[in-house]
Amino acid sequence: MRANYIQYGSPQFRVLSDKQIEELHFATLQILEGTGVAFECQEAIDILGDAGADVSDPNRVKIPSYMVEQALRTAPKMVILYTREGEPAIVLNGQTGSHFGGCPDSPEILDPYTRKRRTCYVADIADNARLIDALPNIEWSYTSTAHPTVPGAIADKVTLLQFILNCSKSIIVEVLDVSSLREMIDLCSIVAGGEEQLRKKPFFGSSSEPVSPLIQGKDAMEKSLLCAEKGIPNVVYGMPMAGATAPATFPGCLAIANAEILSQLVVLQLKRPGAPVIFGSIPSIMDMRTTIFSYGAPEMSLMVGALTELCHYYKLPMFGTAGCTDAEVIGTQAGAEITYQILLSALAGADLVHDVGVFRHATVQAAELMVFADEIIDMVKVLMGGIEINGETLPIDLIERLGPKSNYLTESHTMKHFRKFWVPRIFDRSFIKKEGVKDCEELLNQRTIKILETHQPKPLPEDLVKEVKKVEKTWLERVGLKEYPKRG
């Protein structure tokens, strides 16, 4: 019998105290009520005006705090993402830890065969989708829509389709505009077996970005409103850059980030109470030597950690960022940045964590870095498992029985537990190097190529393939292409 005993199921981690979180919350309310947010979408302005916001100046729409509190009450505390087949895959409720997502497309990719940067072709998106399908710790995917070999008018839909054809996992997309989002919803409805089915078991979600500081653009808001109307999960995230588009201090940047998300949340909850929204932001710094938005800065991870706590204070799921790097080659910097970001995300418990494998300031996607991150997440899972203490794990009787000068190798207790030790797949622990010394990058490259050459994803049923290909044909015709440009 234990009295007042608390068992930690994971390591404990906090960036902010409860009082600090409340202070940020109230600062945000003050910004929304006093400073206001610029809205460029008339429907959103009308919705806010009708509900009691001061919309006399669209560049400073002022939202009273009771409207924010009301939105926080109706926003779903849980969003579930499904697989392409309609199985529950990721439960986002602030309780299930971090779920990391890769990215299949980018302006360029790092070719695992030549190990050089080059243009990302449609076939590369299919390869990356298959890789994501194969990697157990990459649970979903976020698309960037940024591949350049097909016209921008269809690029977002092409990525989505390549993903659907090559991977069963959930996907969040970056969408060109609201009419493209309609087409995507139609496409995904085919796969899910109807729009109602898609709404009930969404394997697909959209995203929309406020622009920092404090701007809700027209296109982004229109996409969000359609998501709310259709009940499609919607990630709302800005990218405030401390020192450039937000104050240079962490709380200042966080308050801007929060005001951007909450102001949009208010509109969406008014549009349709219960609209599923995933709260997010990528708060980082502007690197003042290079002017870049840093994807590797420790400040980013620290602020994402703080924002996760704020988001969980609202009991909303958090869209985080980790597993990316500013580096331009696969090496020490990439490894270090990816690793601590993943660890920090996991410790903070950010729910839906995107950007695994993204490097060179989010302009290149590296298959090898997704494989690397998969390994790191595997390690981090061991750390996040914490230490459970009970009679079995703290075997005083066994220690007493064996005493000093003994060994534990042949004990049944060891047999029972040693399999829980983590076994690396890429990191080398061998002492004798039969095939000579290989660096980690080489082992990583070999593993990546092996997966790419062997993994066969579960195919989409043939009748569905036929249907979605029909839709694809209309896109190609629209931009005057017979087929996608071929790589190489």
């Binding site: 243009t119 690029a155 502007m286 003042m288 002017t291 302009t363």
Partner: protein, 211 residues
């Protein structure tokens, strides 16, 4: 012989009032406006540019310097116009249609101004027509377009096409930039140059003007 050390130093430190005082002192000592500009103000900014490039100065400091440089430029500019001196060059910049990202383009504008170029910033969400109109109105040497989104970058090419249609393409050099843009893309849409960030945008403007 007028010394520009103190003026250079004022620019480098971003001390506007020192710059004003030094420009006025140089004028009183009989220095020519174009020397004050070239040796004093631009001279100071080129040290700033070098230090920024070497990682010894940071962007906010550079922008302070650019601001201070402008306080000096405001004094000598009327004198330069009087004596018929040609400005260093003029640039029209803007973020393309559908894109409301401002900060990157704005930094480029600050840096160009800080290096003595005349900059007209058309703002964000600038339609191809508005770019064409600005070229007719301001007759700049260079047009700079920015796009932050992969979904809006095609509008750079559309603008260039419109300039061709209107017979304006040969009137200006076109440079482009923004997170998803690269050299290859810039070439594919028929731009004259691409700069990955603000420092190289200044270098690119110099290069394009020299062509």
């Amino acid at each position: 012989m007028v010394s520009y050390d103190a003026l250079n130093e004022g620019v480098i430190k971003g001390d506007g009032s020192a710059v004003e005082a030094e420009v006025n002192r140089a004028l009183n000592e009989g220095a020519e406006a174009r020397d004050i500009l070239a040796k004093g103000l631009i001279g100071g900014m080129s040290v700033v540019g070098e230090r920024f490039g070497a990682g010894d100065m940071f962007l906010p400091e550079v922008l302070m310097s650019a601001h201070a440089m402008h306080q000096g430029l405001d004094i000598v500019k009327p004198l330069l116009t009087e004596s018929g001196e040609k400005a260093l060059g003029s640039v029209v910049i803007g973020t393309v249609e559908g894109d409301i990202h401002d900060i990157g383009k704005r930094i480029v504008g600050f840096m160009l101004e800080g290096n003595g170029y005349e900059v007209t910033d058309l703002g964000t969400d600038v339609k191809a027509d508005a770019f064409a109109q600005a070229i007719e109105e301001h007759k700049p040497d260079i047009l700079g377009m920015s796009a932050m989104l992969t979904t809006t970058m095609p509008n750079m090419g559309k603008t260039i096409d419109l300039l061709k249609e209107k017979g304006l393409r040969k009137e200006v050099k076109v440079m482009v930039g923004g997170a998803p843009i690269n050299e290859q893309y810039a070439r594919s849409i028929g731009a004259d140059g691409y700069a990955p960030e603000a420092g190289s945008a200044v270098e690119l403007v110099k290069k394009l003007l020299a062509e």
